[in-house]
């Protein structure tokens, strides 16, 4: 029997991890990516990757990593897969090390570890402050090795449009668009794995890359896949606001001793260095003495909001606070954080070794995503998902440096499971459904290209980003969430009147973007309405009108399914697997 053919969509860490496992087992993979895989968003991860290797004599264990992750996620994550991930993490680090990732080292030549948010242990392995880049390159190199052996075929510059489903509703392949020739094609496969990242673009500006639109997840969602916990969006406390995006300033800056502060007096006119410690408000250290600057991201983000908007202590009245590294010697900073310091220098113009950085929270990570079972399969047979595009490892808030490990672990599970699923599957009556799906996509494309409207898709997108950022990020009110959903509905209506200023059939980026935008709009409603329905506060989801966690009602996974009706997705709730750690109050101002 011929080797099964698997399609992997997305060439970030999760996608490449899946490809490697499949190719290693002798499977054949078609790898689709909008950008050359080496340019995927995983390169943006900075600070490191968690694994309880306990190389610092602290008594760290995988159980403690598991507990920190569950507690950090406010008990919303299913515990079985999280436990498995934490147990697998040390061997994943070893593998990456063997693949040549230039991790920072101790004098003895062993892996060095640093501390990250939401833990009291030095558990984070790192390669300077460009760990994601280094990990992605290591996996990219291994995939290139399999590519040269003929086991992997890359389709770079192709965008996934939809799954091909047979009459039983099982995946039989995909349709995709060549972003250069604009050719629409279907590709057969016995199983597909989506590893298409987060959905930062729904918020206009975020720390995400341009390709992180959530479009692929949304397409599958509209074809019947559940989308879980969409309302859980991580806002990273320390970003550099920019005109085109919000640039991440890694948590590792605080892991290496960086301190967040504002002058105690609003409008303090003294030069920074003349403000004595006693006149500086190190609010995270004061409010959270145990964890200090390394509280989890949702906690730090809300604290910064409070300082700026409630206490009125933003720098020069602006929504900014200091992230200060100037007390650390330059050599250490260069050895451990150079990558991010260069970003600040290049994009802001100040040297953060001399001057405290000015930062503010920004949309960063999508905790929710495609619902998958413990084998990484969605509710559509044959469609698997791994990495940020699925929901299962981070609960209501992701801990720093857990994303890289969840991507690789998820990919490592999805690959072999997809292979196992796909052996010997026949299409019912020899019809895999590709012709009808191609026709459906061709019709959408034709309509869009010919549409004689007046709305510019890029401007519609800005409006979406503004409303989502205003109402569906750090602080949420039901009134605002309703407004945001109404706005999305309005934009969906206006989308019907979209006009592409470019109607050409060659490298037409407006066309590709308009298709993404439609999907972004549909997916946005899982966030607005999911958040509206969840009347409690848990992890990153915070409602001042419902400030407490409500386990009785909401210790549940949100599952949204697409209806195509004006009232939006249908929501149902699923019990969370809490068999190992009993939920307890989550408080970082005291020992847990």
């Amino acid at each position: 029997m011929a080797s099964p053919r698997i399609i992997v969509v997305g060439g970030g860490l999760a996608g490449l991890a899946a490809v490697i496992k499949i190719a290693e087992a002798g499977g054949i993979v078609d790898l689709f990516s909008i950008v050359p895989v080496k340019r995927s968003h995983s390169v943006c991860a900075q600070g490191g990757i968690n694994a309880a290797k306990n190389l610092k004599g602290e008594g760290d264990t995988t159980d403690k990593h598991f507990d920190d992750t569950i507690y950090g996620g406010d008990f919303l994550a299913n515990q079985t897969p999280v436990k498995a991930m934490c147990e697998a993490a040390p061997a994943i680090i070893d593998l990456l090390d063997r693949m040549g990732v230039p991790f920072n080292r101790t004098p003895e030549g062993l892996l060095d570890f640093r501390r990250f948010g939401g833990t009291l242990y030095n558990r984070t392995a790192f390669a300077g402050a460009t760990t994601g880049q280094q990990l992605l390159y290591a996996l990219d190199e291994q995939v290139r090795r399999y590519e040269s052996a003929g086991l992997v075929k890359k389709y770079e510059g192709w965008e996934f449009l939809s799954a091909v489903l047979d009459s039983r509703g099982a995946a039989r392949g995909i349709t995709a668009l060549d972003l250069r020739t604009m050719e629409l094609r279907s590709f057969p496969a016995e199983a597909i794995i989506l590893a298409t990242g987060g959905n930062g673009a729904l918020f206009g500006k975020s720390t995400n890359s341009v390709v992180c639109t959530g479009s692929a997840q949304s397409a599958i969602f509209q074809q019947g896949a559940y989308y879980a916990n969409g309302e859980f969006i991580q806002v990273h406390p320390t970003c550099i606001p920019g005109e085109d995006k919000l640039r991440l300033m890694s948590e590792s800056a605080r892991g290496e001793g960086g301190r967040v502060w504002v002058p105690r007096t609003a409008g303090d006119k003294r030069p920074i260095k003349q403000i004595p410690d006693s006149d500086r408000f190190y609010f995270l250290e004061e409010w959270y003495p145990k964890y200090g600057n390394l509280v989890p991201r949702d906690v730090a983000t809300r604290a910064i909001h409070k300082v700026v908007y409630e206490l009125g202590l933003g720098l020069d009245g602006q929504p900014m606070v200091y992230l200060d590294l100037t007390h650390i010697d330059r050599a250490t900073l260069n050895r451990k954080l150079e990558g991010i310091l260069e970003i600040y220098e290049k994009f802001v113009g100040d040297d953060p070794r001399d001057v405290p950085m000015k930062i503010f929270p920004g949309m960063h990570y999508t905790m929710g995503g495609l619902w998958v079972d413990f084998n990484q399969m969605t509710n559509i047979p044959g469609i698997f998902a791994a990495g940020e595009c699925e929901y299962q490892y981070h609960g209501a808030n992701r801990l720093g440096a857990n994303s890289l490990v969840s991507c690789i672990f998820g990919g490592f599970r999805a690959g072999p499971n997809a292979l196992h699923y796909s052996h010997g599957l026949e299409c019912p009556d020899g019809n895999c459904g590709d012709a009808s799906e191609l026709a459906r996509q061709a019709e959408i494309n034709g309509k869009l290209l010919k549409n004689e409207g007046t709305e510019n898709p890029f401007r519609l997108w800005r409006e979406l980003g503004q409303t989502m950022t205003e109402h569906a990020t750090v602080i949420r009110y039901n009134k605002g969430l309703k407004q945001a959903d109404e706005k999305v509905v309005e934009l969906l209506e206006r989308f019907k009147n979209v006009n592409l200023s470019d109607r050409s059939q060659w490298a037409n980026t407006s066309f590709a973007f308009a298709r993404q935008l439609k999907n972004m709009l549909e997916l946005s409603r899982t966030i607005t309405l999911g958040a509206l329905l969840r009347d409690e506060s848990r992890g990153a989801h915070y409602k001042p009108d419902f400030p407490d966690r409500n386990d009785e009602k909401f210790l549940k996974t949100t599952k949204a399914s697409f209806t195509g009706l004006p009232e939006g997705p249908k929501f149902e709730y699923e019990e969370v697997d809490t068999q190992y750690i009993k939920p307890r109050p989550r408080r970082y101002d005291a020992t847990k």
Partner: protein, 249 residues
């Protein structure tokens, strides 16, 4: 007070066979603008300075923080990343063109696939036995890590190839980026198992001998990779390899 504006001249080409034309744009200035945000602005309002409706500009971009390597282009004559090209630091009108040494796709988008092919040709990977748990990797002292890490920072933007006088169809030169990766993998305790193969791959036509020591590459590299050092080190190793191969017959 009249609003401050930004003027750009962008080279447009609808397809590889279409004629190239220059279009002018005038945008409202905003603090912190970069070339990418200017092009986003044009996409949201695709009209030239003369008031003529046009199309959004096609260009590659992704991370916008100079780590993915996508948005390399020529800005005021210099090959560089568009995301880190801050408008306030550029002389206006800002002239933007695609990289000139790679096949043009459309507008500012070019095809840089050749670099990935080169990386395959020199086996730029560590041949691990498998992904199952085989324990920890080889010990690496901090000094070695600090030497290799900069080489591993290459973002495949191809600026070093764009500015190299030897990188052209006549020589078929692989360019500095690939040579630096050969040094990186030959330095690795496991990766060096392919050292001879890599050096031989750089020994013939289009290999390291094509380098003319113009040193433009190291100047243009946005990541400050010590490319000329890598070229001299690998060049020496290639020469030694050639001598060994000659003596072995």
């Amino acid at each position: 007070m009249a609003n401050k504006t930004v003027t750009l001249e962008i080279k447009r080409q609808a397809s590889p066979d279409a004629p190239a034309v220059w279009e002018n744009f005038e945008l409202e200035w905003r603090p912190g603008m970069n070339v990418i945000s200017a092009m986003m602005e044009i996409a949201a309002n695709p009209v030239t300075a003369e008031g003529k409706p046009t199309t959004p500009i096609t260009y590659d971009s992704n991370c916008l923080e100079e780590i993915c390597g996508s948005c390399a282009m020529r800005i005021n004559g210099k090959a560089r990343m568009a995301c880190s090209a801050l408008i306030d630091n550029l002389e206006q009108p800002i002239r933007i063109e695609p990289l000139s040494k790679f096949p043009l796709v459309r507008d500012l988008q070019v095809d840089r696939h050749v670099l990935f092919e080169n990386l395959m040709a020199v086996k730029a990977w560590v041949p691990v036995d498998g992904t199952y748990d085989l324990g920890s990797g080889p010990r690496v002292f901090p000094q070695q890590q600090e030497a290799n890490y900069p080489l591993s920072n290459c973002i495949s933007c191809c600026c070093c190839m764009e500015v190299c006088p030897q990188f052209n169809e006549d020589t078929d030169f692989v360019g500095a980026a690939t040579i630096a990766q050969v040094k990186l993998f030959n330095n690795h305790p496991t990766g060096k198992v392919f050292k001879e193969d890599r050096l031989r791959a750089l020994a013939g036509d289009g290999g390291i001998q094509e380098c003319g020591f113009a040193q433009n590459c190291v100047e243009a590299c946005p990541k400050g990779i010590p490319l000329t050092d890598a070229i001299s080190d690998v060049s020496r190793d290639v020469t030694i390899q050639k001598a060994k191969d000659f003596l072995r017959g």
